[in-house]
Subunit: 431 residues, 2 copies
């Protein structure tokens, strides 16, 4: 069945950035026809719902801070005031550092604190007291020496940080968008963007180099959709749409994996007093090898990942698969030294998704890359936790405004995360 | 035949950036073993020798100016003092502008002039007088109106600009490098970079996430080459080497084509007085559609190209082909309006290459992307005209110096065109 359609705004992708953008567009332009198309059968089925589902306002860059902090406030508003169950739990982020690492980060931490970000620092003894499962030093442990493990001298706790269910979040935006009269078509795959002359002559070979061109919508698996404005929010797949018409998505795709655990031996991680109101271990980042995990309260499970950078290939994969041996032969050896409670445990579940990484500054991009085309993407692994701000900025760019108003009232210069007049700090606080 | 080898510096790619870097490394470190490997059978056979072969010091960005201006001085030195025949001809660059375009660029031009760049401005009448073949206005021409052609109100002539033979240039660097005792192996294809642990344990699955890693050389079609430092200078193919180990080449590949013409009807282009010492038309950029061409003095031919941006796909092609109909159905219609001497002419030759485009700031990248790995690339179509400065900067980065000394003595902060502390202006003067 072919459904040739017209709309005011076509949003490509019902992932978190597409839905947040569509929702904020519809809020601001209730009479515009806003249509979201998505090749999968439901919201967030690309990579959004595969996310670890963690949020933090602890970033070195002011831009990243503003994007995330206002989005977190919005999450809390959605759950506490509007009653959406996002399974949000402010369990905190806990960075475990050696003395050397702590001192390396001290300047960035000072800057972060000066913004009013709620940070607490714990010394080794306090950490040991609160987290009996944690091993803080490895003196005399030859294996740990071989592994080059850093001892735990400090813990930095970000309190306005925690865990959220990414799937519930995309469904929340979907529901709010539909309530406003927005339209979504699932199972519709965009084949290509339509680059058309402003004045179509109907000649073969158009557009010619002498014609002014614009993006006039998209050809999809279900027919042509003409749109006054097209928004590409297709995550790691954005390059497939942008590159054929000569546009750069400013990102490359990289696989990340999540391994989950559920075992009585991990119960100590759910019984940690004094670090958050839930009495559990915060989302915790080990001092070595980019390993991190969080207790997932609703399931009583632990979700674990690893920030594999150098050595982990860039490249779009259609169906990225988790590698159990990546856990067992690699992550495990580091993890079990710091948290021996994981000894001999195997993941009960695992999956893989892809990050859309902007290697230059690890900050998202919102830009009108061509006439009548807006791109929102390159979220670099923090699309969930910045989604609301990015949706508002996209809506502001659509409206032709120089500044977006983020949730809570702070203003954000739209061109700062554009390309043409990009003005962001490089992120110093990467996991 | 397998040739397992060791060297101090392995340079991947005998294109212009690889050879310039190798030459400057060898100049500075005569006792180091510097080895260049190249999959093609000779120098510059990837894209360098396919270049239009034009140079200019007229750039909006200070960085681009410094890179190009010092490289041009070096070209002149090579040809005039050292006797290398680079077929260099300072024929100038001539931008043809409408009143509106001229005024749009006036601020950038003022800035360029304030650096001491030799610019002359000609008004319509002067241009008509000097270039009888040029049509400067289209009043009453309905076809021109349909094409949206801009009239020619001004010509901006950059005098320290012109034409050079890219093939002669790469061969010049090759010769100088070999004379110093540098080594080149042609027909050797690099399969992958070797990412190894600093301390190799010989365990299957290395490197593990807990190991410190570095690039230890490359696996090639002819065996393993171990190197203390590896320099990736593989142009548009750099991503094939970098991406598998999780590094970003900060560029995407885009095809550009050249069409050449040789016909008595074009003789007027070789008889233009008062714009350069050669008495020919400068390298000329039309006010519409990014069409440019140069008289090629040694051949008596005209080389023509088109800066096709939006609409021309990004994507690495193994063997990009020129499209004659791109000329005949597209470029031709614009060209023949400004220069009717091209009427009914067909190209006598044509070819295509690929640009390695950094869409963010159109400026090259020189950075140590990983331990013992340096990347020089993303030259964005001006690798030839910036090659010498880029080679010197690469050599300075290798030597651990904060500043490179460019030819002529100006100093350039190496980190400015790196990634970590990148500090470049966006280029405002793009063809």
């Amino acid at each position: 069945m072919v459904m040739n359609m017209e709309c005011d705004v076509l949003v490509i992708g019902a992932g978190i950035l597409g839905l947040s953008s569509a929702y904020h567009l519809k809020v601001r332009h209730p009479n515009k026809r806003v249509l979201v198309v998505e090749r999968f059968g439901g919201p967030g089925q690309g990579n959004s719902a595969k996310s670890e589902g963690a949020f933090r306002n602890v970033f070195g860059s002011e831009t990243n801070y503003l994007l995330a902090d206002s989005t977190i406030d919005w999450f809390i508003h959605l759950q506490e005031d509007l009653g959406y169950d996002l399974k949000l739990a402010k369990i905190g982020y806990l960075w475990l550092f050696s003395e050397k690492q702590y001192s390396h980060h001290s300047e960035a931490l000072e800057k972060i604190r000066s913004r009013g970000v709620d940070l607490a620092v714990f010394k080794r003894g306090e950490l040991s007291g609160k987290i009996p499962d944690l091993v803080v030093d490895f003196e005399g442990d030859e294996e740990a020496e071989l592994l080059g493990l850093e001892p735990v001298d400090f813990g930095v706790l970000g309190r306005k940080c925690g865990s959220i269910d990414a799937d519930s979040l995309v469904r929340c935006y979907e529901e709010m968008f539909l309530k406003l009269g927005g339209e979504i078509r699932y199972g519709v795959e965009v084949k290509r963007l339509m680059l058309k002359p402003e004045v179509e002559l109907g000649l073969p070979g158009e557009p010619f180099i002498w014609q002014d061109v614009h993006v006039a919508g998209a050809e999809t698996s279900r027919g042509e959709i003409r749109a006054e404005t097209t928004i590409v929010a297709a995550g790691v797949w954005s390059g497939r749409l942008l590159e054929p018409i000569g546009l750069d998505p400013f990102m490359r795709a990289k696989k990340r994996q999540i391994f989950t655990f559920k075992d009585p031996r991990l119960k100590g991680l759910f019984q940690v007093e004094g670090l958050n109101e839930h009495g559990v271990l915060p989302f915790t980042i080990l001092p070595k090898a980019g390993v991190y995990f969080k207790p997932e309260l609703t399931e009583g499970s632990v979700w674990l990942g690893c920030a594999d950078n150098l050595g982990r290939r860039f490249g779009l994969e259609e169906d990225p698969q988790p590698e159990e041996e990546y856990y067992t032969n690699n992550i495990y050896h580091v993890l079990v030294k710091y948290f021996p409670c994981f000894r001999d445990l195997r993941p009960v579940n695992m999956w893989a998704g892809q990050y859309s990484i902007n290697s230059l500054d690890q900050t998202p991009v919102v830009e009108a890359l061509a006439p009548d085309l807006i791109y929102v993407g390159a979220a670099s692994g923090s699309g969930i936790m910045k989604c609301d701000a990015l949706g508002r900025i996209t809506a502001a760019l659509y409206a032709g405004e120089k500044e977006a108003e983020l949730y809570g009232g702070k203003r954000f210069r739209v061109s700062d995360i554009g390309i043409e007049r990009r003005n962001v700090e490089r992120e110093s606080f990467i996991i």
